[in-house]
Every structure is written in structure tokens, then in C-alpha cells.
């Protein structure tokens, strides 16, 4: 064909109004009698229209939820806290571990993405939970089937009323779970999706090497207990979940959870504040220069055999902000 290819890039520039005047008039003349170039011109023009026209209105709640978050941010910026973003993925994980039907929390959500993912992963995750729990809670048969069975004991666990309020005391760490009410009674669904999943308070924490067993205290290797506010703050920043938008759990990564964690961080609950709150435990792994954590309640086996038979622990897998290097530096500093 003819060498109109020289014109094509000019046409592109002309559409954007970036062609010099003389060239433009020359090109326009050419377009009048060149079919090929005319078609290119028309197509480029249509591309432009398709992209810049026919805008849709954003959902009404967009501005509301933005302002809500902006206002919330304004309030709590000074307190250091570890939070997990309620991503669709993390929510899924929690969902599976507890059994969807029980977690009334999710009744209102009809996010297709979540449902899709949960069906993909239940096999893997169920196994993960079974294997890693086996040693710790060997007083009962823990199986993935038990996820379906509902006992009062386990549902109470969901109702952990960790208040997400900021206190003025020398609390340096805030961890908690949203109350069960959230989402069931009219709270904005979108809010739930963007609220921290876990958030709770602690005045000290203990770092153990490797795994931690609440059954057999002898086995645990305590490295340090951190009580100092500065150190608590520093460590909490390491363990804080990656903020919204970037917390992603990739299915291939869950293999590591079957191995022993690098450290386990034990956070005793502040019983004076709220006697129902359980101690918390975060197992951390170093994976590819990232810190990944699994946070869960510590449920000490009770004397009541009935209750200990079937219960599940809500575990949340998340990626932490800190890097393994920083964490190691911190641990070294503690050792001095």
C-alpha cells in the first residue's frame, strides 16, 4: 500500500491538538482523499470519546465513606496501634475458620469476590488450622468438621468486646476485635469492610522463640518481655498490618504457616479493663523479606471437657509493615 504510515503518528498528535499548524493543514488535506488515514483518524477519535465521555456517577457512599475515614484518621493519629485491615481476603480467612453460618457478622455482605475465594481455599485453610493447632490443644479432637458445629463457647469468642475506643492512659498498643453487633444492626456495610478487623490494648508483651504452647509452658523459650513504652511502640509498628489496599494473601504463601514461626509474640490481656478479653498471640514468619503474622486469641483449655471438644480459633493471617531486618535489629537491641 502507500506509505501512509508516516501520517499515523501525526494523526495521533493532531487528535490531541499537539500538531504544528502547517503540518495540521497538510494532514487535513490528505485526510480528505485518503480512506485509510480517514479510518485511522475516526478510530482514534472514537477511542478518545470512549475514554472521556459517558462517565458514570460514583456510588453515593463514596464521598461519605471517604469523609468518615478522613475524620477518623484525624482523631487517632497519635496513638500507635496495630490494626488489620478488613480486606476482602482477610475477612474470608476469618470466615472460613469460623464457619460462615456462625459469623453473623457477615450476613449482610454479598460481596461475590469473598464467596468465590472462600470456596477455593477452605480445603487448604482447614488443613492449616488443624495441623498447627494439633499440638497446642491436644485435649480435644480438633478437626475441620468442628468448624461447623456451634457451641456457646465459641460464639462467645466472636463477641469479644474489644472496644475500639482511644483512651488517654498510657496505653501504648491497641488491639481488639469489632463487636458482634457491628454489621448486624444497621451499621454501614461499607464501614465494616473498611474497619480494622483486629485492634486491642496491651501494656506489655513477651517474645518467644519459635512456637508457643499454652499447654506446656515448659517448652516455651522466652526471649524478652517488653514493657517499656518506647519499645512497645517500636515493636507495634513492626507488627502493624500493611494498610489498606496492599494487604494481600496469596494462596501459595500459606504453605509456610505449616512450619514453625520464627517468633511468637504473646500479649496478655488487660483483665482490669475487660475480663472477657483473651490473651493474644501473634506468630510471625519471615517470608521473602516480609513479615507475615497470624494473630489469634489464646484459649486456655478449661476444666469443662464438654466445651473444649469443639471450638475454633479465629486466626487472621496478615502481612506486617516491618521488615525482617528491622525486626532482627530490634531483637538484638533488646538483647543488649
Amino acid at each position: 500500500m502507500n506509505n501512509c504510515s508516516q501520517y499515523f503518528e501525526l494523526i495521533s498528535a493532531m487528535i490531541d491538538g499537539e500538531l504544528e499548524t502547517e503540518l495540521e493543514s497538510e494532514l487535513r488535506t490528505h485526510l480528505e482523499h485518503c480512506d485509510e488515514c480517514k479510518r485511522v483518524y475516526n478510530a482514534f477519535k472514537e477511542f478518545s470519546n470512549a475514554l472521556s465521555k459517558d462517565f458514570v456517577r460514583p456510588p453515593e457512599i463514596l464521598s461519605k465513606s471517604i469523609m468518615q475515614r478522613v475524620n477518623k484518621q484525624k482523631k487517632g493519629t497519635k496513638k500507635p496501634f496495630i490494626f488489620g485491615r478488613f480486606t476482602a481476603v482477610a475477612a474470608c480467612l476469618a470466615l472460613i475458620l469460623l464457619g460462615a453460618s456462625r459469623f453473623g457478622f457477615f450476613d449482610g455482605l454479598n460481596n461475590n469476590k469473598q464467596i468465590e475465594k472462600s470456596s477455593l481455599r477452605s480445603a487448604d485453610i482447614g488443613e492449616m488450622v488443624t495441623n498447627s493447632d494439633h499440638e497446642e490443644f491436644n485435649t480435644q479432637n480438633y478437626s475441620s468438621n468442628s468448624l461447623q458445629e456451634n457451641t456457646n463457647d465459641s460464639s462467645e469468642q466472636i463477641m469479644i468486646k474489644g472496644d475500639i475506643n482511644e483512651t488517654e492512659e498510657d496505653v501504648v498498643f491497641q488491639f481488639g476485635f469489632p463487636t458482634q453487633n457491628t454489621g448486624v444492626n444497621g451499621t454501614n456495610i461499607e464501614d465494616i469492610q473498611k474497619e480494622p478487623l483486629f485492634l486491642f490494648e496491651a501494656k506489655e508483651l513477651s517474645i518467644y522463640e519459635g512456637k508457643y504452647s499454652s499447654n506446656d509452658e515448659q517448652k516455651n523459650k522466652l526471649l524478652f518481655t517488653v514493657k517499656n513504652e518506647e519499645e512497645l511502640t517500636a515493636f507495634s509498628e513492626l507488627l502493624t498490618a500493611v494498610p489498606e489496599g496492599t494487604t494481600k494473601y496469596e494462596i501459595d504463601d500459606d504453605q509456610f504457616v505449616k512450619s514453625n514461626p520464627k517468633y511468637t509474640v504473646y500479649i496478655p490481656a488487660d483483665k482490669d479493663k475487660n475480663s472477657k478479653i483473651n490473651d493474644k498471640m501473634i506468630s510471625i514468619w519471615y517470608i521473602n523479606e516480609e513479615i507475615w503474622g497470624v494473630i489469634q486469641d489464646v484459649r486456655k483449655p478449661t476444666l469443662n471437657v464438654e466445651n473444649t471438644k469443639d471450638f475454633s480459633i479465629e486466626k487472621i493471617l496478615y502481612k506486617a509493615l516491618g521488615s525482617p531486618n528491622k525486626c532482627e535489629d530490634f531483637i538484638k537491641k533488646l538483647g543488649k
Binding site: V40, N42, E46, D54, P58, L62, S63, V70, T246
Partner: protein, 206 residues
């Protein structure tokens, strides 16, 4: 909203009047949302991206100097937020077409008649086709095309934004369009493929 009105609101927010930020949100949310939608391809993610862009803008408002208009600055932020998101998503993809691939050296595939103004095809339908084709563009091409088409930036402004030469901007935009032509004609009828399913972030062509 004029530039002066914009700057007035910004200084209010900078001085602690958070509520006024809402005016900026309402003013810009349509463009931001649609920009995000064309970048990531689905409404849920577009919603998340829009939120994140505005929150980031709010947080960085302290350092906004007003060299460009807030809205333009915001759209660039939105584009970057979307690109970051797509990059993270892209790690899971199975294709690894690099940005500047051999495809760019091919001849432009002359588009067919349906793009002509006189064509019988429904304009709306045609635009949907184009939008779906857009999602198959590598994300960097998509971004630069959108900077031009939605943000309305000149080549010079884009060059400054991306820290590249103006000539590079010109040729990249052309290549983006050229690639779009190939997608829309070469790969057969978009309307028949199930591209709506893999429209999320155009992952397949990353």
C-alpha cells in the same frame, strides 16, 4: 470550581477544617472514579482506588504547594494508586508481556469502518467495545492514554509528570492507540470473547 475557590478550601483544610475537604471530594469524585474504573476495570476496585486516592490526597495536603491545580494533582495520584494496585495484582498473572514489546514495531492495523461517524453501529456499543479493549492494554499504556484523555494533560504536562521527554510522550500515546487498534481488530470480535471476566485490571496482558 475555580482555582481560587480550590485553593481557599485547601488552606481551610490545612488549617484543620477537615469538613471542607468534602467539597473537594464532591467536586472531583466523578472524574476520579471514572478514571479508576477505566484503569482497573471493575466497580469494586474502582471504589477502593478512589477512596485511597482521596485519602492519600488528604494526607498529603500539607505538602501541596499549588503549582498545579489540585484536581490535576489528584488525578495523577489516582493513576498512580491504580498502577500500584495493578502491579500487585500483576504478580499473580501468567503472562509477562513487557511494556515495550515487539508488538510495538508492527504496522498499525487499519481499523475498519465501524469507527466512522456514519457507521450504523450504536455509538454506545462501540464505546463499550473500546473500553473493554482498553483493559487489555498493558497498564502503562492505559495510564498514559488516560492521563491524556481524562486528565486532559498536554504532552508537555505529561512529560513533566512522568519525567520523560515530550517526544517520548507523543510516541507512547501513539503506540497505545496503535495497540488498541490491534486489540480491537486483530484479536477478532471483542464482543464475542468473555473479556468481561478478565477485565479486572487487564491482568492477562501484563
Amino acid at each position: 470550581m475555580t482555582r481560587e475557590e480550590e485553593n481557599l478550601i485547601i488552606s481551610k483544610v490545612q488549617n484543620g477544617d477537615t469538613a471542607s475537604f468534602e467539597k473537594l471530594v464532591l467536586e472531583n469524585q466523578t472524574k476520579v472514579y471514572n478514571l479508576a474504573l477505566r484503569m482497573v476495570g471493575n466497580e469494586e476496585d474502582a471504589f477502593d482506588m478512589s477512596q485511597e486516592a482521596f485519602i492519600k490526597a488528604y494526607n498529603s495536603l500539607g505538602s501541596f504547594r499549588g503549582e498545579s491545580r489540585f484536581s490535576v494533582w489528584l488525578y495523577r495520584l489516582t493513576t498512580n494508586v491504580c498502577l500500584d494496585f495493578l502491579r500487585a495484582e500483576g504478580r499473580k498473572s501468567f503472562s509477562s508481556l513487557t511494556y515495550l514489546s515487539d508488538d510495538d514495531e508492527k504496522e498499525l492495523e487499519i481499523p475498519d469502518e465501524r469507527f466512522s461517524p456514519e457507521a450504523a453501529i450504536e455509538k454506545k456499543e462501540l464505546r463499550e467495545t473500546v473500553k473493554m479493549g482498553l483493559l487489555k492494554l498493558p497498564k502503562e499504556y492505559r495510564a498514559i492514554l488516560l492521563l491524556r484523555e481524562i486528565d486532559g494533560l498536554s504532552y508537555d504536562e505529561i512529560a513533566k509528570t512522568l519525567s520523560i521527554e515530550e517526544g517520548t510522550v507523543k510516541s507512547r500515546i501513539f503506540r497505545a492507540r496503535k495497540r488498541l487498534c490491534a486489540i480491537l481488530s486483530g484479536e477478532g470480535n471483542i464482543l464475542n470473547s468473555n473479556s468481561s471476566k478478565d477485565s479486572k485490571g487487564g491482568v492477562k496482558h501484563e
